[in-house]
């Protein structure tokens, strides 16, 4: 049963309450233990810290991409004056606010720059004309300065969105919506610039010789997939716990499913666009990056992306009946999250193999699992902390009634 009047929301459980407290407590504890264990494994093994930083980067980017997707789509809801999404917008705002947590979790990467980025080695740059040419951009000081700018923009926007929206919960002032719309318009421009360059800095510069102008779009496509998969699963989970049971309806799931489906295709479109140009040109300086992913053991990861990140979910999510079925949508949401993790792994880990010459199976082990659990726990705890004392729905948004009665024609 859907609701027809925002006043009916008063009977709805729309806060995390006790659940939030336990998620913060246990998630935080599990998170810290996971990360400490992963780091300890790095200490014990020979050259394990190099491996640890690559594993850390993979999981850092995975969770960051969810928040960045959420930040972007919160802004897009404002500039498009979207009505349908109001009931899920607060959840996006909360996910986006987790960039604050990601900024803290960026600090260990600063200590791992030497393990991760070949261009930080002065002796390597001295013998490498390409790296010398790129040095005005790829140097540690400017790299860190840019990271500060990126996080400043993301945190500024995310907290502005969350604070203003929460403020509207009290006042119901429609002018807040107009202000959010205005800030989003230039905020999205800043978002696009910072996200593109962040993906260049943190991921693409793992191989400083290689370049791809579409890389930022590729990263964005992945973030959008990550967001809509997370959001669908989160909504279903919250409803299972007895929250927002009537506010979020099949119609909203249908739209989340459509977005998940659309961005799965968009991701494949961008991935192929990038691949085809390098395949056609076949120039030595750009094919190396592809070759590392086209030979065993990474070949299997690449093939799994083609089939499990595109073909299977394409047919899996094609039908409206699947998007409107909570259990099936939940299945595909989790599936896409797993594949998005594989996608980030595919971007990062072949460079580890390349730099440190590990051959044999694709590197994956207990350290990856500890690290993933660690980040997952902290991310959930961060989400619960932002949700503390806040309604999970923008209670007095001028478009709330529209969203509650929304139907796909």
């Amino acid at each position: 049963m859907s609701l027809h009047d925002p006043a009916q929301l008063m009977d709805e459980r729309r806060r995390l309450e006790g659940l939030g407290l336990s998620v913060t407590r246990y998630g935080g504890a599990i998170g810290l233990i996971g990360l400490v264990l992963a780091c300890l494994m790095g200490f014990i093994q020979e050259n394990g810290m190099d491996r640890f930083f690559f594993v850390y980067l993979t999981n850092f980017i995975f969770f960051l991409s969810i928040s960045l997707g959420a930040l972007c789509f919160t802004g897009i809801q404002h500039v498009t004056r979207a009505g349908w999404s109001i009931v899920v917008r607060r959840l996006m705002e909360l996910l986006a606010a987790n960039v604050v947590l990601m900024a803290i979790l960026f600090i260990p990467i600063i200590f791992g720059l030497h393990s991760l980025y070949h261009w930080t080695h002065a002796e390597a740059v001295a013998h490498d004309p390409i790296l010398q040419h790129k040095a005005p951009y790829l140097n540690t000081a400017f790299f860190l300065f840019r990271a500060v700018i990126f996080f400043a923009v993301w945190i500024g926007l995310a907290l502005f969105f969350l604070r203003k929206s929460t403020e509207q919960d009290e006042s119901g002032d429609y002018k807040i919506s107009i202000r959010l719309e205005k800030v989003s318009s230039w905020g999205l421009f800043l978002y696009a610039m910072t996200t593109t360059y962040a993906s260049f800095d943190w991921l693409m510069s793992l191989d400083p010789h290689w370049y791809s102008t579409i890389y930022g779009v590729y990263f964005f496509a992945g973030s959008a997939v990550a967001l809509f998969a997370t959001l669908s699963a989160l909504c279903i989970g919250l409803q299972k716990s007895g929250r927002l049971t009537r506010a979020i309806t099949t119609e909203h799931y249908h739209d989340l499913g459509k977005f998940l489906f659309a961005f799965t295709i968009f991701w494949a479109y961008i991935a192929f666009s990038q691949y085809m140009l390098y395949w056609y040109a076949n120039k030595p300086e750009t094919t190396g990056w592809i070759l590392r992913r086209q030979t065993a053991p990474m070949l299997w990861v690449s093939l799994s992306l083609i089939f499990c990140h595109f073909f299977l979910p394409f047919f899996g999510l094609l039908s409206r009946h699947i998007k409107r079925n909570k259990s099936l949508l939940f299945f595909w949401a989790i599936w896409m999250l797993v594949m998005h993790w594989v996608d980030i792994y595919w971007l990062v880990m072949p460079e580890y193999v390349h730099q440190y010459g590990e051959i044999g199976a694709a590197p994956f082990g207990l350290m990856d699992i500890f690290c993933l659990i660690g980040f997952g726990g902290l991310y959930a705890a961060g989400f619960a902390m932002w949700a503390r004392g806040r309604s999970l729905i923008p209670m007095k948004d001028p478009r709330l009634a529209e969203s509650l009665t929304f139907e796909n024609a």
């Binding site: 192929f272 056609y280 039908s319 139907e407």
Partner: protein, 180 residues
Amino acid sequence: MSETNKQLYGYLVEFDNVDGLVNAAEKVRDAGYSDWDCHSPFPIHGMDDAMGIKPTVIPWIVLCAGITGCTAALAMQWWMNAIDYPTIISGKPFFSLPANIPIIFELTVLFSALTAVGSLFALNGLPQLYHPLFTVEKFARATDDRFFLVIEASDPRFDLEKTRQLLESCNGLSVEKVED
């Protein structure tokens, strides 16, 4: 035109609000009629349910068209590049999948889109330049501020008296015969 040439098309009932039309549609649906329709100036949420309309087959037709476009594009490029006129292009094999994917994508989309529009027209019997309801002057307000429900005389359950009674029980503004 003389009176005798006219044929009964059906009964038309007029409403000035959405709820009236939706309630009437539910009544007519439950009475088991099959040849009837509703006309409103804008789409009404829940109308499909109220009229008991089954899901359309268009998605399946479009899926078949998409698969046809996909295989046609692949077959065409294979035949042209590898069989009919083999040419070496930037040192690639005659038949190389990556080069074919953009055309495969385009033809899949083209076939699907044209089939979607085409089957929509065909299944709705469009284009239709004349309709018996055009003889009713006030029916013009179906594109403005009035809501209409019509039961056609071709319906097997159509009965001059019973159908009229059913429509009168819907509390519309008026019930009238449409002749063509």
